[in-house]
Symmetry: C2
Subunit: 451 residues, 2 copies
């Protein structure tokens, strides 16, 4: 019998990231300055990002070398395993073969560490010893905390106050790695003080936390800012996932008909799918690439394609992307990492051009899939990752319906060991679905900037 | 540069468990019936254990086949990785080479699943569809829940009430895998009702929970009981750890001078060390084998070697082992899995015969080591596992002192992602050490049964 886990040695780890911008038929329109609406230049970004990441943001080189220092840290957990979900296949009684690439083996527990490490590295190399960031549920905050620790840098994380109080486990993780974690809104920034003056009991939001982190980074010479998704350089770093998966599928003597990733800001989906976009565009592979998002925040499936702000306050550059409107407030679903009104410009452009596809899933259905997966394969998935699982289950059942032995690959972006209270709620029958009402969507889209 | 992680393929996984009883110079004295003080026979155990495990308990065959069905489940996560802790070596500035075998990759998060799976399997094969057990901190309860789920069996876990309330994450894990979890003492058993009648607010103890689980198993034809450490068959199953580690060390071109495991009931230490005991006894290898235990519960380093009960109530067979006295109440340290008054008879006999050694460590020192390890290698360890880490750190510093490039191997028995509140307490300076006072030890040892 062939193996359940297809492993690569450290020597087989990719030495370069894949840059999809080399091969896209249409590049996304450039980011615009929020005040002037002119394309943003490197000088606009250099207050908060190191030059090497700014270069990666606009590069159209197909392959970009992974620095040896970054590879060294990657080797603490990479290459990650590719697993055949035989017990899940059996439970579904499907002719489909289901493979999953497991990123939860990272010490941060998710794929986020793949970009946190190079971001910390390039900053350190350019003399920056301190990073700020925001975090909601905490996966990104944990990843950046670990990455800064590996390079001996300070890290200050603005954590949405309600999560700070309700998710103490992820806060502990950040503190173990030496980060200082500040509940946001805080008194440390003008942005925070303004919110607190209006509402001393504000629970905070990702939008506010971003403003605070950016404000601190912009003010201090020795401090930069780091973002965990959406931007081109972030997605570039995540392509190690799909590159490894492709090599592992080849070792198993397989090639997928369908590739699936969960999608919030887009980095996990893109990291998984873009190396297969290369196959599709350059080598003519017939392959479906599916981004799985929550029906409560259906950016790709029901949003509009155009320019919008990346944050609530309208301080970030305008990005060309699918959006639900920057004022859209997603409901408090348990896949906190997928609650974003916009999406990666690269993912958005490829969807717009018909190269990838997207699907939206209800919260209760993804928890059903999560428990089925846990009981079959043993691993309790993060609620975000469970979107990819449920999408894979749906495709496996469609294959059964069609009587076709399709090969399905999805990425399990992280484990759910710090998300167990969400499972308690689901098992107690206390989770609701939040399909987005048509009128609320229409209203939110009315306020898109006119460009 | 050689690799950080030394991996085995599934085909290289051991096909047999190693039974140290084939090679020990002196076998432990037999378990005695608590009432008659006569050696216990298979018929005494058959009310709660399947015959195949009873046979393993007394077998002196050196190699015992791992059933194919068990191997199939093992392959969900095994072989587990062996890692070179290069960053830890550097942080310690030691000439020692430090390797760790990482059992936290199991979906249960610890080595406990290695024995939970065969225990569930043998019961199922003998027509048993329901297991009961007790759990304190919850690692064993999670492992048995997963194992029962894999074989479609019911599992009922009596969880010490104070842990049930304070460790909701591990309780959630058991429920995700379909177990019913009962806070102990409960009204379901005579033992539980008796305790509740005397003290309705009893926080429970492992001793009470064992009594409840055994009572239910003994009463019902379709139900057996499962134990997560101490017994010979449990330790047998754990030898996959040391066997794999030996093969992986050989792949790295190394052989350890020192092998370390944390030690409570003994299954993690024994599983790691016994395949090297074989080398020492049969092949004359020069090697130190160290069991690392808490100074607050120093069974091996300060206990007495002789017969004692396995539980507080004196209902289990008398075992020949090191013991602090069955009435000894260990303080509430955060390595809950190491709070046991006795120890495996096999480990005890080998210590008594000078083949292995033991050391005791303070709670605050093991958390210091845990954080140093996390910051170096990325992984946040379980507090139990941190005893092995701190012992390895001490040995690496001794090697530096001696100017010798010793090779150290330890097992990291599990991750600490569900133990983060303990880290919070340590970081807040709120953890104490509990060295065992001489007079309390003397008093506890006074009451040992006279045999």
């Amino acid at each position: 019998m062939s193996e359940n886990k297809i492993l690569l040695t450290e020597k087989e780890m990719p030495r370069q990231w894949y840059n999809v911008m080399a091969d896209m038929p249409n590049l996304p329109k450039p980011p615009l300055h929020p005040a002037t609406q002119k394309p943003v230049g490197p000088e606009d970004l250099s207050a908060i990002f190191p030059m090497e990441l700014i270069k990666q943001e606009v590069s159209t080189e197909r392959w970009i070398d992974i620095p040896e220092e970054v590879q060294k840290i990657y080797r603490l957990w990479r290459p990650s395993p590719l697993c055949r979900a035989r017990r899940l296949e059996k439970a579904l009684d499907t002719p489909a073969k289901i493979f999953y690439k497991y990123e939860g083996v990272s010490p941060a527990g998710s794929h986020k560490l793949n970009t946190a490490v190079p971001q910390a590295y390039y900053n350190k190399k350019e003399g920056i010893n301190r990073l700020t960031t925001e975090t909601g549920a905490g996966q990104w905050g944990v990843a950046l905390s670990q990455a800064c620790n590996f390079f001996g840098m300070e890290c200050r994380v603005f954590m949405v106050k309600v999560s700070y109080e309700q998710k103490p486990y992820r806060r502990s993780m950040m503190q173990i790695f030496g980060s200082s974690v500040v509940p946001s809104p805080s008194n440390e920034t003008a942005a925070g003080r303004k919110v607190l003056a209006a509402d001393p009991d504000s629970p905070g939001s990702l939008g506010i936390a971003i403003s605070e982190a950016v404000e601190v980074a912009a003010q201090r010479e020795d401090t930069n800012y780091a973002l965990g998704s959406v931007l081109n350089h972030v997605i570039l770093h995540q392509t190690v996932i799909g590159q490894e998966a492709k090599e592992q599928m080849a070792k198993a003597g397989e090639y997928p008909n369908i590739v699936i990733g969960c999608c919030g800001g887009g980095s996990n989906f893109a990291g998984t799918a873009f190396p297969f976009v290369y196959d599709k565009l350059v080598r003519g592979a017939k392959i479906r690439l599916i981004a799985a998002e929550p029906s409560s925040c259906p950016t790709l499936t029901r949003g509009r394609f155009g320019y919008d702000f990346g944050d609530v306050a309208g301080l970030t550059p305008l990005l060309s992307m699918y959006t639900l409107g920057s004022e859209f407030m997603p409901p408090s679903i348990h896949a906190g990492g997928l609650r974003y009104h916009g999406d990666s410009p690269l993912v958005s452009q490829l969807l717009h051009d018909g190269i990838i596809e997207a699907t939206a899933l209800d919260q209760t259905s993804i928890f059903e899939g999560a428990i089925m997966f846990a009981r079959s394969e043993g691993i309790v998935p993060a609620p975000e990752s469970a979107h990819a699982i449920q999408c894979a289950i749906n495709e496996a059942l469609a294959a059964k319906e069609a009587g076709e032995a399709r090969t399905i690959l999805f990425t399990l972006s992280g484990h759910g060991l710090l998300d167990l209270p969400s499972y308690d709620k689901f098992m107690a029958g206390k989770l609701e679905d939040f399909p987005l009402p048509e009128d609320i969507l229409a209203k939110s889209l009315q306020n898109l900037p006119k460009i």
